[in-house]
Symmetry: C2
Subunit: 224 residues, 2 copies
Amino acid sequence: MELFRGLEVPALAEVMAVALIRTVPRHTPLFHQGDPAQHCHALLSGGVRISQTNAAGAQVALRFIGAGEMFGSVPLFTDRLYPADAETVADSVEIRWTEASLRELITRHPAIALNLVTVIGRRLMEVQDRLREVTTGRVEQRLARALLRLAASGKTSDAGTALAFPLTRKDLAELSGTTLHTASRTLAAWEKRGWLSSGRAQGRSRITLHDQAALAAVAEEGRE
Amino acid sequence: MELFRGLEVPALAEVMAVALIRTVPRHTPLFHQGDPAQHCHALLSGGVRISQTNAAGAQVALRFIGAGEMFGSVPLFTDRLYPADAETVADSVEIRWTEASLRELITRHPAIALNLVTVIGRRLMEVQDRLREVTTGRVEQRLARALLRLAASGKTSDAGTALAFPLTRKDLAELSGTTLHTASRTLAAWEKRGWLSSGRAQGRSRITLHDQAALAAVAEEGRE
């Protein structure tokens, strides 16, 4: 788990002793945008969709959280309100700590605070990259990058890399800052070329990437 | 200074004892995108423009740093490469610490690590908001929000709030993810209504906001 990397076994035992663990079926809300933030959350298995409601009242996917990743924990150190909604997209096991437990753990093991800086710092850089892509890049480039980012937490076999989460085409459009129409058209074109395939289950696509090199070329060059 | 908030006087004396301080004239590069990151930087006075070069080779403004703010310090905890260029936009006084000094200070005063989490966490939330605005909001809304964010570090007098940095219209276009043409047209319309005024000096605008309530209404509602 990224948050407790480098900790010795006795320290990890302390971490687990104060952890709250629960299994959560898919499509369960974990917290809502604007609620008071009370826990540091992470995922042991499954997947969580982080989304925000915009001024027009529409939900926009912001990030997908996979096993081992932290979420919803930044507001404990800032304005104390969850900035987004979190909902499971698969059956999941959540692990969380109260704010008091987390602060006590950090006091005893300051390495946790440095891990927090690393995790949040990486996300800051990633979101800055996405912001730059959205304001200057081409749609194909952004969509290819969104797929490659999701593939990093996917499962690789001989058939390719299956993305860890079931995603709608709307999710992918939102993650890459484009319209549903453009995302669907581009994904269909790439599927035709054999770069990826998608199987549908419960209204969501299970996407498998077959040619990450081709997608990386689009992501890097912005040319097809 | 946000990074050392809450520290006692003896701890602050330690912080200052290992700090490197230098005065830097305006238009001086402080570091370049891709260079190895070796310091934690902050600004005692003046202003710094943080920008990235996109795939097409164009510079895009990402953020402006004012007095008391940290910059260029996240890569010490992630991939160890500066993700952006930093250049002074006014005569400035920079304060910085080597990575070894910063880590030593954090070991002795873990509160610094929690302050780092707070600073980086706030920026993450701000960039996520900007990303959501860019993908779903209207241009006027984004421009109004960019101006209000800059006003937070500005100087308020009877005449209004003067932004802390001299900015080009291109800077403002980039910060709000729009074209120079649209940014200029919108700013001119707002100037005509008396919401702001801009004086030019050395090719850059010194913008003063006269009606933050009107801009806040645009920022919130997305309507003019």
